[in-house]
Amino acid sequence: QQQVKQSPQSLIVQKGGISIINCAYENTAFDYFPWYQQFPGKGPALLIAIRPDVSEKKEGRFTISFNKSAKQFSLHIMDSQPGDSATYFCAASFSDKLIFGTGTRLQVFP
């Protein structure tokens, strides 16, 4: 099972609010779970990543929560800003191959 399921497809958040994007996977061989941020006309850029031996990783306003038993992980964006408006992709990797989710378009309104 190589799929990574991502939800929601789109998200609208008020400035200062919390944005939450969820992903689920099936393949327990995955050993690296990155989140990518993509602006229109640009390639995806790594935002934050986690390994399955850690339940949470925080970098600034961005936090990954990881639930190994449920095979789920999520991205939390605290104090969301208009500049965070972009498409976010979760991904899962084994070896060095990335399987991407379908993406979440986040819009943060002032």
């Binding site: 390639g43 390994r51 989710g101």
Partner: protein, 115 residues
Amino acid sequence: EAGVAQSPRYKIIEKRQSVAFWCNPISGHATLYWYQQILGQGPKLLIQFQNNGVVDDSQLPKDRFSAERLKGVDSTLKIQPAKLEDSAVYLCASSLMTGYTYEQYFGPGTRLTVT
């Protein structure tokens, strides 16, 4: 540090024509990837090179797509003949594997429209 370079940025062709995309990875990155990103979807791996050898091309439609990475640096991806369903953004990425780090750096992509 210069990023992954791709050209052209945009290309419009008619179906059954051929097209080629070029990628220059970050200097020193041994691994190079080509992805296809259809509108509204996540990138899908087409082919992976390690230096100038193919590691994985299981998702590459080999009847029409081909790719090469001569001298282990630049790479080209070709489509011949193109179909309407090939309309997508073609992304090139490179990575420098250190220990367990698999961070891939993406270029801006080439947006292909097949009419």
